[in-house]
């Protein structure tokens, strides 16, 4: 399968990268390539230019300073879960990174690339030939949605693994452009619009992920449920963080909405309570009401909503068990 043609840029530093992006606003950023190049082979993304940022030296790091763990955008997923600081103190992130695709994808894929991956849909992530039997959908540049055909929006699902894990860790991100650099909550990166899932302006690069140090005092975990766990995208993924002393809890899900879903209603219900099975079930019901799964995969929405509850219970019990040992 040939890749479509494009102009190729390999900047040596961030300054050069943002200046190329300023001149080429519709260029796509290439890091690990495990998402972008597959979509390009399917001809659902055909950018006129590619900016390969892997040659930029100072974006691959995990460090602890100024009251936070700072992770460079180009840090590979394998590097994340093999770093003891992350696997011991932020297990939700380590588990999410090791849940992504296969070992090869974890070796090639980067943290920021995984966060910024495209939304997915069974009508979108297909070859040009497969898609040619139907009119082109919103996501691929057309005028129709084959999943929810009464609405004029794209319902593709966000299916990334590290997204929800970073959401429960209250992560922030640093976004740089040729004009300025801004720090925003990761939650604000996701637009909830399936066609353009990220609130990034043309020419902006996600350069750093920041996790506040106090998140290391909590217990956390991530569980991915997939057909073939080591290869497939999650049917549903659940991340959990808790401060046992303060009885403060955070819950997030992936693959149940157009963005990774922070379950605020469920969290408000859980906060201050001692966790048990009934309470978790009630929380999961609240989260399932917040979620907007549609049939973007072969799995039914009822199945996804039920999985949310089951996964929440197992993620919590596993995180607690690990914290005790």
């Amino acid at each position: 399968m040939r890749l479509p043609k494009f102009e190729y840029f390999a900047p040596k530093d961030l300054k050069e990268a943002v200046s190329i992006l300023r001149n080429e606003p519709s260029a796509k950023i290439l890091a690990g390539g495990t998402d972008l190049l597959v979509n390009m082979k399917h001809k659902v993304e055909c950018p006129p230019a590619i900016v390969n940022i892997k040659g930029i030296n100072d974006l691959d790091y995990i460090k602890q300073d100024n009251g936070a763990v700072r992770i460079g955008a180009l840090t590979t997923l394998k590097h994340i879960y093999m770093t003891s600081l992350i696997s011991e103190k932020l297990p939700a992130l380590a588990e999410a990174a090791s849940a992504v695709g296969s070992y090869h994808h974890q070796t090639m894929g980067t943290l920021a690339g995984n966060i910024c991956q495209q939304n997915r849909c069974k009508f979108f992530n297909q070859s040009l030939w497969w898609r040619s039997s139907r009119p082109t959908c919103f996501k691929a540049g057309g005028q129709i949605c084959h999943v929810v055909n009464k609405k004029e929006i794209c319902y593709s699902s966000y299916c990334g693994d590290v997204g929800p894990a970073l959401l429960v860790l209250n992560a922030k991100i640093v976004v740089t452009s040729s004009r300025d650099s801004r720090e925003i909550l990761l939650e604000d990166l996701f637009s909830g619009d399936g066609k353009a899932p990220l609130n990034l302006n043309p020419g902006e690069i996600l350069v750093e992920i920041i996790i506040p140090l106090e998140e290391m005092d909590g217990v956390s975990g991530y569980t991915k449920f997939a057909n073939r766990e080591n290869i497939d995208f999650p049917i549903v993924g659940t991340a959990f963080w808790a401060s046992m002393e303060n009885k403060e809890y955070r819950v997030a899900f992936t693959a149940v909405d157009r963005k990774p879903l922070r379950a605020h209603q469920a969290e408000a219900f859980l906060n201050g309570k001692n966790l048990n099975e009934e309470i978790l079930e009630e929380a999961a019901e609240l989260a399932a009401k917040d979620a907007k799964p549609v049939k973007t995969s072969v799995y039914s929405t009822t199945y996804k909503r039920r999985l949310m509850g089951l996964l929440l219970k197992s993620t919590v019990s596993e995180a607690m068990r690990r914290a005790k040992s």
């Binding site: 399968m1 040939r2 890749l3 479509p4 043609k5 494009f6 102009e7 190729y8 390999a10 290439l30 390539g33 495990t34 190049l37 597959v38 082979k41 399917h42 590619i50 390969n52 892997k54 394998k78 695709g101 296969s102 070992y103 090869h104 994808h105 070796t107 090639m108 073939r228 766990e229 080591n230 290869i231």
Partner: protein
């Protein structure tokens, strides 16, 4: 536009004319005739195109050839040294770790990356990390035994 690039493959430097949209797999197979690296799904899902880039297992079908400039590329052709099979290759032969052989280069190179990273990984680690390499003959048990038998040989350098 085509450009001349230098790639370090199996210790040799090759000067090749490539387009930016050529994948490393296309260059290895179609321009250099290194057919040991297989084109399976061509979408990064089956692991048949695995090569080692600076010792790490990469999928060459979803990697641009221009992205491999300045990196050490190892394909299955470069694994045996002077006619002596690599311990993993020998083990695959001795344990019958192949049927049609299509997935074998990817399997062996992934196993090498895993064993280089961790000398004696557990069975569970090997199974999890090799899950991205598919074998359509479903000969997984023998493949797994072949890798395990190498990990059990103590003091071996890979």
């Amino acid at each position: 536009m085509k450009q001349a690039i230098e790639l370090n493959i199996n210790g040799d430097t090759h000067e090749i004319l490539v387009s930016p949209n050529n994948t490393l797999l296309e260059v290895l197979r179609d321009k250099l005739g290194l057919m040991g690296t297989k084109r399976g799904c061509d979408l990064g899902a089956c692991g048949a195109c695995t090569v080692l880039i600076n010792g790490d297992a990469y999928l060459s079908c979803i990697m641009l050839a221009v992205d491999a400039i300045g990196k050490e590329i190892l394909t299955i052709e470069g694994l045996a040294e002077g006619g002596d099979l690599h311990p993993l290759q020998r083990s695959f032969v001795e344990n019958g770790g192949l049927q049609c052989g299509f997935c074998t280069p990817g399997m062996i190179l992934t196993a090498k990356a895993i064993l280089d990273e961790e000398k004696h990984p557990t069975e569970e680690v090997i199974k999890r990390k090799m899950a991205g390499n598919l074998c359509r003959c479903t000969g997984y048990k023998k493949i797994f035994e072949a890798v395990m038998s190498v990990t059990e040989q103590s003091g071996k350098e890979f």
